[in-house]
Assembly symmetry: C2
Homo-oligomer: 387 residues x 2
């Protein structure tokens, strides 16, 4: 285990009928707030009403900033920052999934500075302050509700960049599993794929050979993500399964899984971000294509950890590490197929001829994230196995 | 999964060479601090020097309050409160294990009120404010470094009572595994027993039948506690094993294991507290006596969860739940024996004739903790199986 600092200041309110707390919880930070949300699905169920009723009851003045897209874009973040500054809002309320929360985080940070918000993502400026942020989560996927990460796409340069800072952790996040009952099957599955990707990025890229406590925690989360997603797809309003999936998504990326692992990389996300940036595919759908390819490439060089994964998560009974590793990857790939998440570029309508362009795009993020071992040839060779 | 609120504000600094941060971290809260520690073992290794050097370098004035005993006593807490008030300290620094940190928490809360501190433990008063608290942990056991619980023994009434409050969570805790290298074998084992007891109290007393995410997390922690303790006893300065054991101890009782379980009880601790209060036995040594007895009693009525535990933690291959449950309890009991922790009252020099007195003492805590199903007869019948 490596040294670490762990600070989880986000207060979590989890469970049924908790959304009504958003008003009082937010009122602790100010009187005027920016309400950030997406394309309006929260108006089709009752979540928008629950949130605005609670904010109004708490005496808050609300300025709305709707229209966050999946793969949230920089121009929309800039509009939100302008709005926040114009109205002098004292806090931001995000109602949505990771895209909405990430957009809200970028607004929270951007509202405190005079320079362009994209400089945070290029690593040219560091976040030193932010507006307080409260969240109501509506999708089990990104884990943004309890961490300091944010991912934004610059639609001009076609770059999807992520960055993180301790300060960006939300002050309060409300996790009501019933808010995810109406998430469609495909996005439920993409969310579960994202959760598993977060865990496996850590699990397979740690440079520390001995992290048994974290390993078992992560293996348990993968098993539960797989099982709860399967239950949810069979019965979308299964409260217990929605709750399990939601809590797995938060635990997967709130700092606990990575604490003690030392330097970890996010190579599967690095490659997927280029698929999303260039072809606007759903993040989870891109990940289920990239993951088996990356895992096979990595397992060829270092099969032991992949074998452990196969044995503990999929009960693979195979003594040979390389064979066990590959069987585990096959199990996971089959599960992606079972839940309807694509496993080839073809299914994403991305031609094989696009691979060099994707690899070149990915390299920009590889440099910022310091994933030094990845050059365009390696990225292209990984992608060629999933075309 | 049940509704829950989870707030983990304690900042954790984990790893080698982290103790030197205690000065700067504490200086954020004030200039004059009370330093609470135990019987002086921290002077035999270098921890006392590391802490006082760091506090002095950060410009802090230090008032010392040494002498905390294992099973910390109320009179010593009262002395600490008097000292804190007299000197007007602005923060408390605890250097030790759970006993020291619990004593420090009671001082932090008691220093803010005019009434006697014991009223918090009797449930007559609630904690509304406390002095800031920073900790340097020297024993993997209690988990007090990241939670809001505290346990104190009233040596006049012979009651060992525990209470908890969100506010009592330390602001900062420093966990350096090297600080535990010199913990003797028996106290290392008692600590590991305590960690497992914390996990199993939750695991076996939850009223929610479906908590698969939490279950796998807890099963992983038990496996790692068992394995790392075994390694540490074979080689006391095995850094990785000490680190694993230390991190398990914190994770076992920081709120994560219990989040979502609903109402849980602490019946094994309830009974053990009477052994400690009446016979001053080490807490972990008392627990390894009580646990197999309580588990067998409980498993007889509800074997399913015990069977799951046996299968997943000890790889018991037995289809019948009752038989599997008993085999799991036998495995755990044997492990207690292996690491030198007692499993009978006789080993603690407690005669069978004392059982009625112990049961009567335990009843006082059963009432405060609202463990309604436990009357003196049931407690006595459980204890009779471990005499």
């Amino acid at each position: 285990m490596q040294n670490f600092v762990l600070h989880l200041p986000t207060k979590i309110l989890f469970g049924k009928d908790t959304i009504a707390n958003i008003g009082p919880e937010t009122a602790a930070f100010g009187k005027k707030v920016l309400l950030v949300y997406g394309s309006g699905s929260i108006k089709q169920n009752t979540i928008y009403d629950q949130v605005t009723d609670s904010l109004a009851s708490a005496g808050l003045t609300v300025i709305e900033h709707p229209g966050v897209k999946s793969n949230p874009v920089l121009s929309h973040v800039r509009e939100g920052i302008k709005l926040a500054k114009e109205h002098g809002v004292e806090a931001v309320v995000a109602v949505g999934g990771g895209s909405v929360i990430d957009c809200a985080k970028a607004i929270c940070a951007g509202a405190m500075v005079d320079h362009d918000v994209w400089l945070f993502f290029k690593g040219k400026k560091g976040v030193k302050a932010k507006l307080p942020l409260t969240c109501v989560l509506t999708l089990a996927a990104a884990g943004s509700e309890m961490n300091g990460g944010m991912v934004i796409t610059n639609e001009e340069t076609k770059h999807k960049f992520g960055t993180g800072n301790q300060l960006l952790k939300p002050e309060v996040s409300i996790l009501d599993p019933t808010a995810t009952f109406t998430v469609p099957a495909n996005y439920t599955a993409y969310g579960a794929v994202d959760v598993i990707a977060h865990i496996l990025e850590f699990y397979f890229t740690t440079t520390d050979p001995a992290t048994p406590v974290q390993d078992r925690f992560m293996e348990g989360l993968v098993i539960n993500t797989i099982e709860s997603c399967r239950q949810v797809l069979a019965q979308p309003d299964d409260y217990q399964a929605r709750a399990d999936l939601m809590w797995c998504s938060t635990l997967a990326l709130n700092g606990l899984t990575a604490a003690g692992l030392g330097l970890v990389g996010f190579p599967m996300h690095m490659i997927e971000h280029s698929l999303s940036a260039l072809y606007d595919v759903p993040h989870g759908a891109g990940l289920s294509v990239v993951m088996p390819a990356w895992m096979s490439w990595r397992a060829a060089a270092a099969p032991a950890k992949f074998a452990q994964f196969a044995r503990r998560v999929f009960n693979v009974n195979q003594r040979d590490d390389s064979k066990a590793a590959q069987q585990g990857i096959t199990h996971l790939t089959n599960w992606f197929r079972d839940v309807g998440s694509p496993v080839t570029l073809t299914e994403l309508a991305i031609p094989e001829s696009a691979i060099p362009k994707i690899a070149a795009n990915a390299l920009a993020l590889a440099k910022i994230w310091r994933l030094k071992e990845y050059d365009p040839e390696i990225i292209a060779s990984i992608l060629s196995t999933c075309s």
